[in-house]
């Protein structure tokens, strides 16, 4: 399936496997029988007992379930966290949560939310307000992009948990052969040229999915523009788009240049994060923009004997490529933030649990075992983290520079509108595509068009 989730979670190849996951789920499984017996029953999970918190998590390698167990233990009986699993891709996670919240479902207490969808939840009144003291504590020492990603309309509405970002990964041997100085910032033009000269690939996500919006947003932000220039929280018809701006045209030019070059693989219009990583592992791997999971992925393959161990040794990472030489790049920002449902029976306990979940200790554990980078800057000094991810300082730097995707309650419309207009990437026309996309998105927001 081509659904592209935002967060990622490399399975711990070195650390603890996902054993923590089983416990709460067995309970839920056993509950199925009881549900049937009672015929009509409320939704599954831990309704009833107010001190039982249900945390809806995105699938990972078991880290969140383990953290839930740790916090339950720490709480010493004040609360118990049970986890429930959401679908794999971010769009389906949103669909499921939002339908339940729209029905005022009180069986959700905590949610692992993909940042672009946070404004929609907040605007609809689905999130419990963050107490001021909690807000102060959970934003201290946290990378800027993660705080931004948890904010809507000037207020913190979620608790920053972990933060993801794309890096520019390159093969040291290829960069050397092309004579590219990777200690300096590089541009898209430079890496495409280097790849063409060396007969290698540049990997990016050209498939029609969320990852295309991620790429386009990084390009337009790196060119100094934004997809949305006027957010207009209350009235979707007043939303202003920056797709036809100079930066929008420039972003389209770069996208077209990359997609039409000889440096992209054959299946560029269906390339997702996974296939990009596969291409980078192959003999023709040269450059790719991707999340940090590619590193443990390659190490794992080398360990399993399907990849030459010299390949991951050749891996290196630096900050996302620039669009223009002079302007610093704005790498993609992703990850997961924690939100407390407005319909939760015990929001105070839920916020207490959220604070426990995002503790530096837990973030470091999650980073090392599941490969999900922390949003707390202190974690990046942890020796264990540095050992598992030698490129951790680059990740941290990238997160400080990263730009969130457009923050709007209509994110789905805008993102799908962009995917429709800018796919396949080789067909985009600077100028024209921006105009068409603006027209389409405006019509969709005004409910005059289907999507």
């Amino acid at each position: 399936m081509s659904a592209i989730p935002d967060p990622h979670s490399p399975r711990a190849r070195t650390g603890v496997p996902g054993q923590g996951r089983a416990r709460p789920r067995r309970l839920a499984g056993a509950a199925a029988g009881a549900l049937l017996a009672s015929g009509l029953a409320a939704c599954g999970g831990g309704g009833g007992d107010a001190s039982t918190l249900t945390w809806y998590i995105n699938p990972d390698a078991g880290g969140q379930a383990e953290i839930a167990a740790r916090c339950t233990e720490e709480a010493d009986g004040r609360y118990t966290i049970e986890t429930a699993l959401l679908p794999r891709d971010a769009a389906s996670q949103r669909e499921q949560l939002i339908r339940r919240l729209a029905a005022n479902d009180d069986s959700i207490d905590l949610m692992s939310l993909d940042p672009p969808f946070i404004p929609e939840f907040a605007q609809a009144g689905f999130l419990a307000p963050v107490p001021d003291d909690v807000a102060d504590r959970v934003t201290e020492g946290v990378v800027e992009s993660a705080v931004e990603g948890s904010t809507w309309d000037g207020e913190l509405v979620a608790v920053p948990f972990w933060a993801n970002t794309q890096l520019l990964w390159y093969r040291e041997s290829v960069a050397e052969e092309a004579g590219l100085d990777m200690s300096e910032p590089v541009t898209w033009e430079q890496i495409v040229q280097a790849a063409e000269e060396t007969g290698t690939l540049v990997g990016a996500q050209g498939t029609r999915a969320e990852s295309l919006t991620v790429w386009f947003n990084a390009l337009i932000e790196s060119a100094g523009g934004s997809i949305i220039t006027e957010a207009s929280p209350g009235d979707p018809s007043q939303i202003e788009l920056g797709l036809t701006s100079e930066a929008g045209v420039r972003a389209t030019e770069v996208m077209q240049m990359v997609a039409e070059s000889d440096a992209v693989g054959a299946a560029f219009s269906t390339a997702n994060e996974d296939s990009t990583a596969t291409g980078f592992e192959s003999e023709s791997g040269g450059f790719q923009v991707n999340y940090p999971f590619v590193y443990p992925r390659a190490l794992g393959a080398a360990e399993a004997g399907t990849l030459d161990p010299s390949v991951p040794e050749d891996y290196a990472a630096t900050i996302y490529p620039r669009v223009d030489e002079e302007t610093p790049a704005a790498p993609p920002y992703g990850g997961i933030n924690l939100a407390v449902s407005a319909f939760s029976e015990s929001p105070e306990l839920a916020y207490e649990a959220a604070e426990c979940i995002v503790s530096d200790e837990n973030q470091a554990y999650y980073f090392v075992t599941n490969g999900n980078p922390a949003s707390s800057t202190a974690v990046y000094d942890d020796p264990e983290v540095l050992e598992a991810f030698p490129m951790a300082p680059v990740i941290r730097e990238s997160l400080e520079q990263a730009a969130p995707r457009p923050q709007t309650p209509y994110y789905n419309e805008i993102s799908v509108g962009i995917q429709r207009s800018y796919h396949p990437p080789s067909s985009v026309q600077p100028g024209e595509t921006g105009e068409n996309a603006t027209e389409l998105i405006k019509a969709v927001l005004a409910k005059e068009d289907l999507l």
Partner: protein, 277 residues
């Protein structure tokens, strides 16, 4: 038939078998590939491994897959049982009695059978939320009836029409009570039809996807086809191709067993007894 013809039809038959089984063989083959072996470009795994099955049956994905398997079996069996019971009465009435409205019932069944499932899902979701059926077994069993009932009624009434009902009267003439006549004569005659209908209804319920992804959200009721979308690869960006294939093979086993055991009946059921094997 000449020998040449025999050979030709035999080849035709062999082609059919290959055509029908090839994709199944392929998914079995994928399920035996290690993650790093997936892109080897060939049909067969370089070294077959059980690790995908291990993952979904005993490993990290088992607490996702096993409850889903239990749900799928439970929900489909109950839906099948209910629809067969209801259809049995309806089919008896249609086959045996002459009453106005017979046509109406059959046309309604047809209309329900052609109904686009997607049109039902959203209103049903809202209703289920309000009355607390969302993400429960009954919450899936009831919509599954809309899939299984029409075909059950049609198939069973066709079967019942072929039952020589006069034998019941003959038995009564011979001194049997009504109940005895029914139990000793009619039940054995009707049982194969009911059984066949049940298998076909089970296939249809087992095949559902839209209701499964729309009306459930936890292990409490999530069936296997919906659970396939929740598997995760080594990381969330890596495609869980192996786990999906292994799960796909496991959900295919029950239907293959049913087909192998009852193929003759199923064919008769699908064609309403028109073909005698």
């Amino acid at each position: 038939m000449s020998t040449r013809n025999k050979v030709l039809w035999g080849i035709g038959g062999a082609l059919i078998v290959v055509y029908c089984l090839f994709p199944i063989a392929w998914i079995v083959s994928v399920s035996l590939k290690a993650p790093s072996d997936l892109s080897n470009g060939s049909f067969l795994p370089s070294t077959p491994t059980w690790q995908n099955y291990d993952l979904i049956l005993f490993g990290g994905a088992s607490d996702l897959f096993l409850p889903a398997l239990v749900n799928s079996f439970g929900i489909c069996l109950i839906a099948t049982a209910i629809s067969c019971l209801l259809a049995m009465f309806a089919a008896y009435a249609i086959a045996r009695l002459d009453f106005p409205g017979k046509k109406l019932i059959l046309s309604t069944a047809l209309a329900v059978a052609i109904f686009p499932v997607i049109s039902i899902v959203t209103p049903l979701f809202n209703l289920w939320r309000n009355i607390g059926l969302y993400d429960t077994w009954p919450g899936l069993i009831i919509p599954y009836l809309s899939l299984t009932l029409p075909i059950s009624i049609w198939t069973m009434s066709a079967f019942f029409r072929e039952i020589p009902w006069e034998m019941e009267q003959a038995a009564q003439v011979d001194g049997a009570t009504t109940w005895q006549a029914f139990r000793k004569v009619i039940v054995p005659l009707a049982a194969p039809g009911v059984f066949t209908t049940a298998i076909i209804a089970f296939f249809i319920a087992w095949n559902d996807f839209i209701y499964g992804i729309s009306l459930t959200s936890t292990e409490a009721a999530r069936p296997v086809p919906a659970a396939l979308g929740l598997f995760t690869g080594a990381s969330q960006f890596e495609e869980p191709t192996g786990a999906i294939s292994a799960a796909a093979v496991i959900v295919t086993i029950p239907v293959v067993v049913l087909v192998l055991l009852f193929q003759r009946r199923i064919v008769a059921g699908l064609t309403n007894g028109a073909v005698k094997g």
